[in-house]
């Protein structure tokens, strides 16, 4: 157990390295941190509650647009806007969860996808409010807690990293709580849980709501650190990407989403830098290689290797 603790501390210390080692990559680091938070939120429902969602970007997008609309029409203080945006996404998650948790397997996946696509269309149609395909214009989030969002991305990364860390701690608390154990129980065997008296549907709804809230926070972060938001935050592509990232890192292992985000986005950045027109090829190859050699994602494969050694 002490070993695991050491790795964790090392991991979080490493997240501070970009400030020193790669100061011109901080904008990328900020977007990685945001994606990691998004993937973490998906892990709550996929890795721990067993709900496979192909529409999680719906919550990311709602949070993103909420933050943008607040900055445009109401106030520009980011931290309070962050909480409100997360709350908005959480409300949507709570509403949808009543439908979602009643389904399993392919129907569940397709329903989540369907809701994501419908929301995307709705935001496209409401272009008077959202700016449609051109994106929301005319807003700026100039600073957070007095620190200006600069061109190097320093403030952006510090902000995103701090929010990621706080949300991570909250997630860890949830996972290790009786609620979290119940979730894992539901994932393992959904039929048995009611037999031992654990109310599974309400547990799933709670988890879904929390995950939606967290995804909304991630979306709001993206809007605030870049002062841009457009329809792609709600796109099917974004939902698919975060799913790929989580599977890549290893679902149900708390750090899977974070590791997956780092690996995928760094690889994508490097590949597209080397070969802007055909980097898809290398990313595809990476995914295939990971699946063939590291089943259950990178963390899963590593832990399997670890077990073999023992």
């Amino acid at each position: 157990m002490a070993n695991a603790r050491r790795f964790e501390v090392a991991f979080w210390l490493c997240t501070l390295l970009p400030f020193v080692l790669a100061p011109s990559y901080l904008s990328l680091a900020s977007q990685i941190a945001i994606t990691a938070l998004f993937a973490l939120s998906l892990d709550l429902i996929l890795g721990y509650a067993g709900i496979v969602s192909l529409g999680h970007a719906a919550f990311f997008g709602v949070g993103a647009y909420a933050a943008g609309l607040i900055a445009k029409n109401y106030w520009s203080e980011p931290l309070s806007a962050l909480l409100v945006s997360g709350f908005a996404a959480g409300v949507l998650g709570y509403a949808l969860s009543h439908i979602i948790v009643r389904f399993r397997h392919l129907a569940l996946i397709m329903l989540t996808m369907g809701f994501g696509l419908l929301l995307h269309e709705a935001f496209n149609s409401a272009s008077a409010i959202t700016g449609g395909a051109d994106g929301l214009q005319g807003f700026r989030v100039p600073d957070v807690l007095g620190f200006k969002f600069d061109m190097f991305g320093r403030t952006a990364y510090a902000y995103s990293l701090a929010v990621l860390f706080v949300c991570f701690l909250i997630c860890r608390r949830i996972i290790h709580s009786p609620f979290g154990l119940a979730l894992r129980g539901i994932r393992e065997n959904a039929t048995r849980m009611p037999a031992i008296g654990a109310p599974s549907l309400s547990h799933l709804r709670k988890a879904y709501t929390i995950a939606a809230l967290m995804a909304g926070v991630a979306g709001a972060l993206l809007t605030q650190t870049t002062s841009t938001v457009s329809l792609d935050v709600l796109s099917f592509g974004r939902s698919a990407d975060v799913l790929v990232i989580l599977i890549l890192g290893g679902a149900g292992r708390l750090y899977g989403g974070l590791i997956g985000a780092v690996i995928y986005m760094v690889a994508r950045d490097q590949f597209s830098g080397m070969n802007p027109q055909y980097w898809y090829f290398w990313i595809g190859l990476l995914l295939v290689a990971v699946v063939m050699f590291l089943p259950n994602g990178i963390l899963g494969g590593l832990s399997a290797l670890d077990k073999k050694r023992q």
Partner: protein, 395 residues
């Protein structure tokens, strides 16, 4: 904070010591995904210019650094533009196929004070995002309002029915055409919007046929859709002598004409460029372009890239190689030249593109389907930009 500034300053100094002799142009483009073809054509246009005019201007070598934005992703576009400025020390930002990406990059151009050339994004407001930005492509109001006015006056059309794709450029075109058409005395029979990912147009075309308007105005993005729409119109038996079909240039682009075949005959379009133009400069351009692009013909993305490079070259000549944004934008304002598309100018006040709008009809010339120009509205300024200027002047 101080340490970072020193690191950055050192990097910039080191970079610029090398860059003394090079002008770096950073181009965030949508090289993968749905808009990959547009970006490829734009890049080929830029490369063709460099091939025809050499890669040295005012004693400095021109270097292109391309990055992939992947699609409409303003957060990525902004980050890549920032990285190009901060990490690669580019002197100029250029490219930008899509509006949201250009808008986000405009912030970077304004804040970092970098000369920026928009080679495609066609929404009017883009130009307002940075005082160091020029555009060498087209704006939708420029073409569509002109078309609307022409249709109701010289075109002799009294009534129209608009069919556009349900996204930004579609809405803009619908508004531009409709407002100008009505202002010139026309009336609208109705309007319909297609979903963005729409594979099949037959239902919409049938609706249009049932209404039976005097003319149909269409705006759809390039790619597979124009051909699909053309086929749907032929299948439904839309008689173009009875119902005039008006469209944007993308409706009768090369791939669309090939796919539509004779069903495209008599479609009237308004646009700023066609690769089959017999303009001498264009003939030479197309020939070089075929060589650079492995046999493809240029389209309006290509000419945006080509003229963008021209603007950069001429501006550099005027500033004698000085890449300071203030100097460059001052030199770029009012720049006039003959392009393969015709005469062009960078408006000295709005910094936007001023060019001819051509009215064309699809006809068979020497057995090949061609957009034949039969009317020209010369040196059109972006009307939306003009309206902004007037509103600002009034204050």
């Amino acid at each position: 904070m101080k340490k970072l500034v020193i690191v950055a300053a050192l990097a910039a100094a080191f970079g610029s010591a090398q860059a003394q002799q090079t002008v770096k142009i950073g181009m965030p483009l949508t090289l993968s995904g749905q808009f990959a073809d547009a970006a490829a054509q734009m890049l080929n246009g830029a490369k063709t210019y460099m091939k025809m005019h050499g890669d040295t201007v005012a004693g400095k070598k021109i270097e292109l650094i391309t990055k992939d934005v992947g699609g409409p992703a303003p957060d990525v576009a902004k980050r890549l533009s920032q990285e190009l400025v901060v990490r690669d020390n580019v002197d100029i930002l250029a490219g930008y196929v899509l509006t949201p990406n250009a808008m986000a990059a405009g912030d970077v151009s304004a804040e970092a004070k970098k000369f920026m050339v928009v080679m495609n994004a066609a929404t009017s407001v883009v130009i307002t995002k940075s005082p160091y930005m020029i555009r060498t492509s087209v704006t939708l109001p420029q073409v569509m309002e002109t078309f609307g006015t022409w249709a109701a006056t010289k075109g002799g059309i009294k009534q129209s029915y608009t069919m556009v794709t349900d996204y930004g450029p579609g809405h803009d075109s619908e508004n531009a055409f409709t407002s100008a058409f009505k202002a010139a005395g026309g009336s609208m029979a109705g309007a319909v919007r297609f979903p963005v990912a729409n594979p099949d147009f037959s239902a919409f075309v049938q609706r249009a046929k049932d209404i039976g308007p005097e003319s149909i105005f269409i705006f759809i993005p390039g790619g597979a859709q124009p051909a699909a729409l053309g086929k749907a119109m032929a299948e439904r038996g839309i008689d173009k002598k009875k119902t005039r079909v008006l469209g944007s240039g993308e409706t009768t682009a090369e791939a669309a004409l090939k796919s539509m075949g004779d069903t495209a005959l008599d479609i009237i379009t308004a646009w700023h460029y066609d690769y089959m133009s017999s303009n001498k400069l264009n003939v030479a351009f197309v020939k070089e372009y075929n060589a650079v692009s492995n046999g493809r013909n240029p389209d309006f993305f290509s000419i945006g890239g080509y003229d963008g490079m021209h603007a950069i070259y001429e501006t550099l000549k005027k500033t004698k190689g000085n890449t300071d944004a203030e100097a460059m934008i001052a030199a770029a304002k009012g720049l006039k030249w003959e392009s393969p598309r015709g005469p062009m100018m960078i408006d000295p006040e709005t910094r936007d593109v001023v060019q001819n709008v051509y009215i064309r009809r699809v006809q068979k010339v020497k057995g090949e389907l061609t957009n034949v120009v039969f009317d020209t509205i010369p040196m059109v300024k972006d009307p939306a930009g003009e309206r902004r200027k007037q509103a600002a002047d009034k204050k």
